[in-house]
Amino acid sequence: MSIELDCRGLACPAPVLETMKELQKMSAGTLTVLVDNPAARENVSKYATAQGCTVQSTEQNSGQYALTITKGSDGTEVAARQLLPSLNRTMPAPPQEVYLLTSDTLGRGDDTLGGVLVKSCLVCLVERQPRPKALLLLNAGVKLAVLESPVLEHLRRLEQQGTEIIACGTCLDYYGLQDQLAVGSVGNMYSILEMAAGHQTLTL
């Protein structure tokens, strides 16, 4: 079966779209597409080749081209379709940060202010993109993760969103809080250091 498709005078990407429609209707056979510029000649050839067809291009009168496209069996089309997904590349994900908190307040000078600051910091971390990879809690920092903590809801939110919360076990024991961890998991110095060293870590 042989069909002729006149795409002369059509603006890009109409020649490809018209060829697409015709090839989809055909089961097997020959389609001749007429175009009047080199860009259309290249584009229709690319499309047909990507569909597993063979393409032959002939220049007719000056600036006009006839593309003879032969659509074969289903085997060649499947091979072509498998090629295309490999061209689609996943974008690199932005790096995730790890935060090390060594106290239940932020900064020195006034502890009441420090408590306000740590809460405000955690609120911001909940919203920030990309999500923090982990929060590491050392010394009084473990107090942030226990039952009575005023920032527990923010830590739980972070954990729900995928941030790992690791509280130092030695510190929990020291403060007598080993049974009161309400979010995250117990880690030791080794696991905490491994997480910190393996990522971009900010100490607050």
Binding site: K46, L87, N88, Q129
Partner: protein, 291 residues
């Protein structure tokens, strides 16, 4: 103007490439503002340039275009101080922009040096995806392209300031190939690009393989005489290199030792597509090798 202050002046406008008037305004404005960022400057004031078929399109459409433009000027921290409108068969919109810069901070495309790394801050493929959009194809890629075009290069320009940038240009109508060739020629160097590192918008390479390649890409290909592709680089990826970009990212040349830190800083600041795509290899007449 003074030893500490210089003015940058630029303008750009074009016809709609998306259906939504507000988005069109945003993209056209972001595109016009980009030149200021590429030079390392800060946009200061802007004026609207408008052509509009008031007899055929509702005034509301024009208001939406202008609102889109205004939103980007405001985001840039600049002031929209007026503009000019004339009647025309086809709508067109853009800005004339004045920017400020310290004279010793001006970045051109002419300072790239052998050993420099090349960083690109936005993914490629807007031309391909806008062509795909005309056929209603690759919706996800088209949406990503629209967001990318509407994004200002403001954050990228600000990150650049704390680094020792040798050359910078924005990637627009001549495609990555064309703008990189301008840089290598002006700088008297050669460059090498790793095609596997190129950031691609979703489905851009597929669109190229399917022949959804805009005519501008073929023009760019014929003008870039000094680009050489390794045999392993697919024709689709080659087409991406020549794909004319609208409101593309910044192409930055800086010492290789600072490259990773700049990429990290850009990504941390939200410029998630930023990546090192290659390097300046040696002195030369502008040749570019793509592997």
């Amino acid at each position: 103007m003074t030893p500490e202050l210089a003015l940058i002046q630029t303008l750009d406008f074009f016809t709609p490439l998306v259906d939504d008037p507000f988005l069109f305004g945003q993209i056209a404005a972001a595109n016009a503002l980009s030149d200021v960022y590429a030079m390392g400057g800060t946009p200061f004031t802007a004026m609207n340039i408008v052509m509009f078929p008031i007899a055929d399109l509702e005034g509301e459409v024009l208001l939406r275009i202008l609102a889109g433009g205004q939103s980007k000027v405001a985001e840039a921290g600049a002031l929209l101080v007026g503009g000019h409108t004339i009647e025309d068969k086809e709508p067109k919109y853009g800005l004339s922009v004045t920017g400020l810069i310290a004279p010793d901070q001006v970045k051109t495309n002419a300072g790239a040096r052998p050993g420099d790394a090349l960083i690109l801050t936005k993914a490629l493929g807007t031309g391909l995806l806008m062509t795909a959009a005309k056929g209603g194809l690759f919706e996800e890629g088209v949406k990503a392209a629209q967001e990318s075009m509407a994004a200002l290069n403001k954050t990228a320009a600000e990150c650049m300031r704390t680094f020792d940038v040798h050359a910078c240009t924005d990637v627009t109508g001549f495609g990555l190939a064309g703008h990189l060739q301008e840089m290598t020629r002006a700088s008297g160097v050669q460059a090498q690009i790793d095609s596997q590192k190129l950031p691609l918008l979703p489905h851009a390479a597929e669109a190229a393989a399917l022949g959804l390649v805009p005519a501008g890409a073929y023009r760019n290909r014929s003008h870039c005489g000094q680009l050489h592709f390794a045999d392993t680089v697919s024709v689709a990826l080659q087409d991406v290199c020549f794909d004319p970009q609208t409101s593309g990212g910044l192409l930055i040349a800086l010492p290789a030792a600072q490259a990773q830190k700049l990429v990290d800083a850009l990504q941390m600041a939200g410029v998630c597509q930023a990546v090192q795509i290659g390097k300046i290899t040696q002195a030369g007449g502008g040749q570019i090798h793509v592997d």
